[in-house]
Symmetry: D3
Subunit: 140 residues, 6 copies
C-alpha cells in the first residue's frame, strides 16, 4: 500500500459543553496542524498516488471554510462539541465529498483509485487526534 | 476509526545482555518520549474518544513507576532485556490493566469502548519502537 | 553562556483590529507552544542554570492565567492586539516579575544570577514569534 | 504487533515527465529523510524485533547506491518517474531482497521473523510518501 | 528584541567543486526548508514586527526564483559552490533588497524598522546552515 | 555571521547530588540529542563554514567517549553533577580542544577561522540546555 501526505493548518475559536472538559468549557481556541494522508494499492500511469499539488489545494479549500472562525457560531456544528477528533471526521467527510466530486481527478476514483484516507489534527506538541476510513467513505 | 494521542516522557538507566547489543551491554540510559494512541470506532456522547486529561494522568502514573530508575534493579524485569520494544509492551500491558480497572471511565470499556491501543517510545531523533494491540488486551 | 529551555503550551481565543490582519480580524484562536529559555554566565553550586522543575512550575503558573480564555475579554489587553509577538512580551514580563519576586530561588537573582531570558511562542508548523531581553527586565 | 524504526537520509537530483508535475518537470532535487519501520508479532530471544545496528547498516547500504546521484541517469529507473512514492517502493524492494538474503540475520526470516515493513520518505516539512507491505515481499 | 519567523521550502539540483565535497561533487539535489526570522526593537502600531502574510509572500517570491531548478545552470552562481551556507546568504541578500524596496511596507524601514534578519536552511534532519546580519544589509 | 549545524546523539546513565534534584538523585539515564553549531564571519575558498563531514566525525568522536556509559563512574566528573548544561560545556571544551589541535583543518583556525560555537543537548521533547562561547575557547 502506497501513501502520500500533505500538511496545512487552520486556527479557530470554540468552547465545549460537558463537565469532562473542565476549563475548556470556556471560549478558547486552537491551532490545528492537519496531515492529510491518501492511500492507494498501485500507482497511476504518472507514478503517483495523487497529484500532490491538487491534494494541497483541496485540503486548503476545506480548511479555508473553517479558518479564522469561531466554530460555536457555525450552524453545521450546532449542538455538537467540536473536539479535535470530531473535527478530524468533519474534514475527512468534506474531503471525501470533494474527492467523489472529482476534485482530485478521475484517477482518484473507482476500484484502482484512492483506497483509504487518514486526517490527523495536531493540537499541540503533546496531543493529536485522527480519523481514518475507506474511500469512497461510508455516509456519516 | 478515530484516534487520540497524548505524549509524555521518562528517563531510565539500564544495561543489556547479549553480544548483539555491543557497547550497550554497559550500564547506560535513555530518555523515552512516549506516545499513547487510543482508537475507537465511534465517539462517545461528549464527542470524544477518551477524556484526554484522564488519559494523560494514567500515562503519567504508569511512567512514574519507571521514571528516574535503574531498570536493572527492578525485579519485574529480572532476566529480561529492557529494550525499547520490550518496554513499549510493558507500558501497553500496564495501561491496558488500568483501562480494564476503569481508570479511563466506564465509556472506555465494552464493545463500544476503546478498540485498540498503540504505545510508541522514541529513544532518539533516529530511532523509536512501538507495541500495538487490541483492547481488551490478550494476556501477555 | 549557558542556556536551559523548558516547553509548555496554552490555547486561547482572540481577534485582531486593523486591515493588516485580514480574516484574522474575526474571532478565532491559537495553540501557542511556549519555549522558555533562561541564560546565565556560570553554573550555580549544584551545577545548574536554574531548578528546571521550578522553572516548569513558574511557566505553567504564568500560562494558567491565559489558558482556555478569550483574550478579547481580558482587561489587561484592552485596546491592544494580542499578536504572537505581543504575547511573547507579556509572558516575558510576567515571568521576569516572578523571577524578581524570588520564585526561581535566590540563586536566580543578582550579578551571578540569570542574565537573559527568551520566550518563544510557536503558533503553527510554519510560524513563531519571540521576545528576548536582559534580566532583570527593563520596565515595559 | 511490535515495531522498530530507524531513520537516515539521502540527497538526489531528478526530473519528472508529465504535465501533472508542472515546474517539477525541470531538473531539480530533493533530500529524502527515510524512516524504515520493521514489524514482528513476537520478540526474539534477545528481546528485540531486529538488531537495530544491523538495520541501520542495511538501510545505509541501500541509500548509498542512490545518494548524491542524478536519478535520471540511473538505468534502473529508465522511463519511470522517480516520485517520492515510487522511490519508497524501490527502497522497500531493495531492503526486502537484502532481508531475504539474510543481511538482518536468520531470526528476521521465516514464520516467526519480520512480518511487515514500511518505508517512509519525508521530502519537506509538509509532504511525505510511504510504501508498506508484508514480508517476505511479493515480487514487484 | 522581538522576532517573527515564517517557514517555506524549495527543491534544487546542484553539484560542488573541490575534493572536500567527496561524493557531493556529483550532480545531486536537496530540499531546503527555510526559516526567515525578522527582528525589531519595538512593535509597530498594529502590535506586530511585520505583516506575517507579506513576509510569507516575499519569502515565497524569493524562493520561487530558485525552486525546481538546477543551480549549476544559474549564471548568478557561476564559479561558486552553492552550499547550504552560501545559499542562506544569497536568500538573505535577495530578501534584504526586497525589504529595502519597500515590499514589507514602510514600517519595516528606518531606525524603528527591522533591525536584523536570520535565514536558516535545513537540509536534512541532521544538518542546517544559516546567515544572520543587520538590516539594512551591508553590500555583499 | 554564517552558521553550520550538525546533529548526533549519545545515551548515558548518571545520578545527581543535591535536594534540588528530587527523584533524579537516583541512578537514571538520558538520551542527549546534540546540536553542534559552528559560526564564522566569512566563508572559506570552497564556500563553506567548515567541512561538514569532518565536523560530524569530530562530534561523533567526542560523543563516543561518553556514549553507553555511566557518567558516575567517569573520574573526569568526580564530585560534579553531570547535568545537561554541565555536559554541554564538557562537550564544548572537548570540541574546542580538537579544533585547536587542527582536527577541523587549518581553515578553522586563526582570525578568519571559526569565531563561535554552540553545543545544545536536547534531553526530551520539552527540555534542552546549551553552552555557547567564542573560539578559541577560554580555558575552563
Amino acid at each position: 500500500m502506497y501513501s502520500v501526505n500533505v500538511r496545512d493548518h487552520f486556527m479557530i475559536a470554540h468552547s465545549f459543553s460537558g463537565a469532562v472538559f473542565g476549563p475548556a468549557q470556556r471560549l478558547h481556541g486552537a491551532t490545528y496542524v492537519v496531515d492529510l494522508e491518501l492511500r492507494r494499492t498501485a500507482l497511476d500511469g504518472d507514478g503517483i498516488v495523487v497529484d500532490i499539488g491538487l491534494a494541497s489545494q483541496v485540503l486548503r479549500a476545506v480548511l479555508a471554510d473553517l479558518n479564522f472562525r469561531n466554530l460555536d457560531d457555525d450552524p453545521a456544528f450546532s449542538g455538537r462539541n467540536t473536539t479535535t477528533e470530531f473535527m478530524a471526521r468533519v474534514i475527512f467527510d468534506r474531503l471525501a465529498a470533494r474527492i467523489e466530486a472529482g476534485e482530485l481527478g478521475p484517477q482518484a476514483l473507482g476500484p484502482t483509485g484512492l483506497a483509504r484516507m487518514r486526517v490527523t489534527l495536531h493540537e499541540s506538541h503533546v496531543a493529536w487526534a485522527a480519523y481514518e476510513g475507506a474511500l469512497p467513505a461510508d455516509s456519516a
